[in-house]
């Protein structure tokens, strides 16, 4: 009957959609690995770009991640605690939520614009890692807040009640009963934010600039990250300086993809391992 034929056709299309999605991913990752794996040598990983490697980018990425997370985590978790434990339905709360939602939608280039003007030029006087990290912390804040909020909300009300009934104050309940229980979720929030930091390019490009040769020592020095370096290799480096720029760019891409896969797996592992812990 006609309805069945339509259904077969429709389901066929959805299957095709699913398959296409998977194929696209496989193609992209496959292409990057196939073109880039040859570039991955110990020299590549441990030597600076002046010698054909990406060590400055790797160190720069770690530097940026540490700085950004250090700034964003206390602010993000603090805001999440306020929203779940203390906030009542008033205009301030609504304003805060509006602020977070809106901030989440602002494109990274606009953050870069802002960070460049405020942090790099006005505050610090120069484009540098710290300017990039401050900018990135602003960008990553909504992610950190949202994910932390979910983690804290997931802690059952009974835990709070048990703690209060034992004579603990509000703050003690949050600090000693709720937060320890929310820990796996908060760790997920942090790892998600790390992932976001690593893949971010546009805002760092503007707020920090690319300094491919500089091995960062202080937060006020310039530097580069893996994704910035990939862009640099693909678009900016002169052929004469780095003839193998495409392969190196692909190699950088491989490293980036590996990091993302590790981060994704970590998130899943934490969720599944600790979900069991809370079940009663």
């Amino acid at each position: 009957m006609r309805a069945r034929v339509t259904q077969k056709l429709a389901f066929g299309i959805t299957w095709a959609a699913g398959i296409i999605t998977v194929l696209v991913l496989v193609y992209i990752i496959g292409y990057v690995i196939a073109t880039g794996w040859r570039a991955i040598t110990p020299d590549f990983l441990f030597r600076p770009p002046s010698e054909g490697g990406i060590s400055t980018a790797i160190v720069g990425t770690i530097y940026i991640v540490v700085l950004t997370i250090a700034i964003a985590t206390p602010l993000g978790i603090g805001a999440a605690i306020y929203l779940t434990e203390y906030a009542t339905e008033n205009w301030i709360t609504r304003l805060v939520r509006y602020g977070i939602e809106t901030l989440a939608g602002v494109p990274s280039i606009v953050f870069g614009l802002f960070g460049f003007a405020l942090f790099a030029l006005s505050l610090l006087g120069t484009r540098c890692l710290l300017a990039g990290a401050l900018t990135l912390a602003c960008l990553v804040l909504p992610t950190m807040i949202r994910a932390s909020e979910e983690a804290i909300k997931a802690v059952p009300v009974s835990i709070r009640e048990a703690s209060l009934a034992l004579g603990a104050t509000r703050w003690q309940t949050i600090r000693h009963a709720v937060m320890p229980a929310a820990l796996p979720g908060v760790m997920t929030a942090i790892i998600l934010s790390i992932g976001r930091t690593v893949e971010e390019t546009a805002c760092l490009y503007v707020a920090m600039g690319i300094n491919p040769l500089n091995m960062p020592i202080s937060p006020l020095s310039g530097g580069t990250t893996l994704s910035l370096h990939l862009y640099y290799l693909a678009m900016e480096v002169p052929f004469t300086i780095e003839p193998m720029f495409m392969e190196k760019a692909m190699g950088t891409g491989v490293v980036l993809i590996l990091i993302i896969i590790i981060i994704n797996s970590l998130t899943h592992w934490i969720s599944s391992r600790y979900a069991a812990r809370m079940i009663r």
Partner: protein
């Protein structure tokens, strides 16, 4: 004899809905008082008024007084946190923290400021013994998570946790409803032992349990306390018709 904890004309409102009507009830020290009644009659709400736990729920209102040793626990100068220490609560669903057994028991004392290790261990062992759980957990109480115990053990852990802050009154909100018959029996035995040191108020929907375990019983219906007296009297010779109907199972 002075009642340990009593209410005078206690009324309670969730928003506009009145959940308790003018309840006056005196609970005697070192006795087990059971509160029975059909679901929704207000007995749990009443219980939560006794340790100011209802204040965690927004949009509620209370009228009347709750006196602990003669002093109103709701008067402005009273320390809410101190009240909760003196009047402890065990909940219907066991709710141990995802910490070790030891960590669970010493939570209360730690929050109150005790952090001397040996002292904490002493308190914890005493409490676990008093809750009849010590022998079962003493080998790995510092490593084993409170959440990994059986339902009955978890509830005894929650009782130990309350004992560790040295309360005077222990409130129990249907403590056995999530447990199997064997675990229930253990808790009931425990209650009998505990009453010698503490005052116990237990809410239960299981009439047989109330008859078995308690010395005094109060029957609640639609927010009112209909009848209150010695358990034997309530169950064999109730004064109020409604009490009799409930006891004999005509409703609820």
């Amino acid at each position: 004899m002075e009642p340990k904890i009593e209410t005078k004309s206690l009324s309670f409102y969730y928003g506009v809905k009145q959940a308790l009507r003018n309840v006056t009830l005196a609970i005697k020290e070192h006795q087990i008082t059971a509160l029975i009644g059909p679901s929704g009659c207000g007995k749990s709400t009443f219980l939560r008024c006794l340790n100011r736990m209802n204040e965690t729920i927004p949009k509620t209102r209370m009228e009347g007084e709750v006196l602990l040793d003669g002093k109103n626990i709701y008067s402005p100068g009273e320390d809410m946190v101190e009240v909760r220490k003196r009047v402890g609560m065990v909940f219907q669903q066991p709710n141990p923290f995802p910490k070790s057994i030891f960590g669970n028991v010493i939570f209360g004392p730690t929050m109150l400021g005790i952090n001397h290790k040996a002292r904490l261990e002493g308190i914890a062992e005493r409490s676990l013994r008093a809750a009849a759980l010590w022998d079962e957990v003493k080998d790995d109480w510092k490593k084993k998570s409170g959440v990994s115990l059986s339902g009955g053990q978890q509830q005894r852990l929650c009782i130990a946790r309350v004992l560790a802050v040295n309360p005077e009154v222990i409130l129990m909100d249907e403590p056995c409803s999530a447990l199997d018959p064997l675990a229930t029996l253990k808790i009931e035995e425990l209650m009998q032992q505990l009453k010698m040191q503490y005052t116990i108020v237990v809410v239960t929907h299981n009439m047989q349990q109330a008859a078995r375990v308690s010395d005094w019983t109060g029957f609640f219906l639609m927010g009112e306390m209909v009848e209150y007296g010695p358990t034997k009297v309530i169950f064999t010779n109730p004064q109020d018709r409604r009490t009799e109907d409930y006891i004999t199972g005509r409703f609820g």
